[in-house]
């Protein structure tokens, strides 16, 4: 297990490759469909995303005392952000995207250019991942976007991911798609 701690520098990120199992300690910002569209349509991000990691996630969060508690926090399907992700990576110098199911060629290209990686969290592992959230530091755009789509600033410790798309053009998703297509052709 490789440890990745904030600050998420380009060097640290470019050292990662497809297949690496990584444990992240630092800050994650959730952002999914509505936030990506908002940025794509020219919206200004509520925080500086430089060298940050975006997490495709709509957590279940309940109020607790003065703040919030994350009750469930697994990843959402990333491919829906494919039209927007590459541009966002470039414009805001984002270093990593966590999600599930992988992303496409546009994003893969941007990962190479910018020096960023796509990190796959286990889909549906909402409790395992919620336990990695040590604190909800803040939430942005909660009114406008609603709870699942808001930008939740999460402090995490040893958040486990697998690198499935790296900054060198490698993609596990492309490999599995190709192999499975061949396997299907063989039995049809």
């Amino acid at each position: 297990m490789i440890t990745l701690e904030a600050p998420y520098t380009e060097d640290k990120i470019r050292a990662l490759k497809v297949g690496d199992m990584v444990a992240i300690s630092g800050t994650l910002y959730t952002g999914r469909d509505a936030f990506h569209k908002y940025l794509h349509d020219g919206g200004k991000p509520p925080v500086d995303l430089t060298d940050q990691i975006l997490y495709h996630c709509g957590p279940v969060v309940v109020p607790e005392g003065d703040g919030w508690r994350v009750k469930a926090a697994g990843p959402t399907t990333s491919i829906r952000e494919e039209p927007y992700q590459g541009d966002i990576l470039r414009r805001f110098a984002v270093r990593g995207v966590i999600g599930k199911g992988g992303m496409g060629e546009k994003t893969l290209k941007a990962l190479q250019e910018v020096g960023a990686v796509y990190m796959h969290a286990v889909g549906g592992a909402a409790q395992v991942l919620a336990r990695c959230v040590t604190r909800v530091k803040n939430v942005y755009m909660l009114e406008e976007l609603g709870s699942p789509e808001a930008v939740w600033e999460l402090e995490v410790a040893e958040f486990p991911v697998v690198i499935t798309m790296d900054s060198h053009g490698g993609s596990l998703h492309r490999e599995v798609l190709s192999r499975s297509r061949q396997a299907l052709d063989a039995i049809l």
């Binding site: 297949g19 199992m21 509505a34 996630c57 709509g58 957590p59 279940v60 309940v62 009750k71 469930a72 926090a73 697994g74 959402t76 399907t77 491919i79 829906r80 599930k100 199911g101 992988g102 796959h120 286990v122 889909g123 549906g124 592992a125 909402a126 409790q127 395992v128 919620a130 336990r131 976007l145 609603g146 709870s147 699942p148 789509e149 486990p160 697998v162 499935t164 596990l172 998703h173 490999e175 599995v176 798609l177 192999r179 499975s180 297509r181 396997a183 299907l184 039995i187 049809l188």
Partner: protein, 292 residues
């Protein structure tokens, strides 16, 4: 809170936080099939840990608590309006408690009222029967897997699929290939041959209410159900699409009559977190038995 509301609230809680035994068993078998040290084995291990954590914490297995789908079988005379009122109240309360995510979005405005109640939400299917008892089943079907469902109209030239079981097979395998890991596999497929576009999809979801270990009473369909699991697993998509031995845990096929002009094959993809549970209610609406 009425007794019915209380029972429905507990049904929601358990469905969200606890996987039924037959699904857990299927996942255990899947985990054993993965190569030690592989990413597929790793994913299955995290899934196992997650199942245990959710049960202990009484918290959602997956943060996408999905569409709330009730299936009710009851004697003629059940007050279905009162049932909907109780179900909606239970859904609101379950959402406040964090057993359900705030999952209902206005399709025109994007607004989320935070209650999980709105046009079409929750869905309640009611079927009268001559039995004396009331059975309420609940399925929470997430959006990720919902998005990789598919409906085919046969004949399909691109797939080379004609209007027969050989064609159905091609449709199902195509759906699995296209889904890759995006439905949070290893998944379970509900399939309907026939129906119209609406009933075909609805019936395919009802197939997901079947127990993992049941057998299709039609021997040809039974063969196809098992054959498809084997064949899908040879594609090597694996858990989460990481590659591996376990791509599907089960396939359940139902049939409806169709129009001469139409031959639909509807495929509903359900993720590994196959949250479906059910209760038998007595005359006072208290839970007397769990169905899974």
């Amino acid at each position: 809170m009425s007794a019915l509301q209380e029972s429905l609230l507990e049904l929601i809680r358990r469905t969200s936080a606890e996987l039924p035994a037959d699904v857990v068993a299927a996942l255990d078998r899947g985990r054993a099939a993965e190569a030690e040290g592989s990413a597929g084995a790793y994913a299955m291990g995290v899934i196992r840990d997650n199942i245990a954590l959710a049960r202990t914490a009484s918290a959602p297995l997956c943060q996408d608590t999905g569409s709330v789908l009730f299936y009710v079988h009851a004697p003629v005379g059940l007050d279905t309006i009162a049932f909907r009122e109780a179900a909606e109240a239970a859904v609101r309360l379950a959402t406040e408690k964090g057993w359900l995510r705030q999952n209902s979005v206005d399709s025109l405005t994007g607004a989320n009222a935070g209650t999980n109640v709105g046009p079409g939400h929750p869905t309640i299917h009611v079927e009268p029967w001559r039995d004396e008892s009331v059975e309420v089943r609940l399925m929470l079907k997430g959006g990720g897997c919902e998005n990789v469902g598919a409906q085919y109209a046969l004949p399909d030239t691109a797939l080379g699929a004609g209007r027969d079981l050989a064609g159905v097979r091609k449709c199902v395998l195509d759906a699995v290939l296209t889904a890759q890991g995006k439905g949070c596999g290893p998944g379970i497929l509900g399939v309907c041959i026939g129906g119209d576009r609406a009933t075909g999809y609805a019936h395919s979801k009802e197939q997901l209410l079947r127990s993992m270990d049941d057998r299709n009473p039609d021997p040809e369909l039974d063969r196809l159900e098992h054959g498809l699991v084997e064949e899908a697993n040879t594609l090597g998509i694996g858990p989460m699409g990481f590659g591996g031995q376990t791509t599907l845990l089960g396939v359940k096929i139902g049939v409806l009559n169709r129009l001469p002009a139409s031959y639909f094959v509807s495929v509903s993809y359900m993720c590994w977190a196959h949250r479906r549970q059910g209760v038998v209610l007595d005359g006072a609406h208290a839970i007397t038995r769990w169905l899974y």
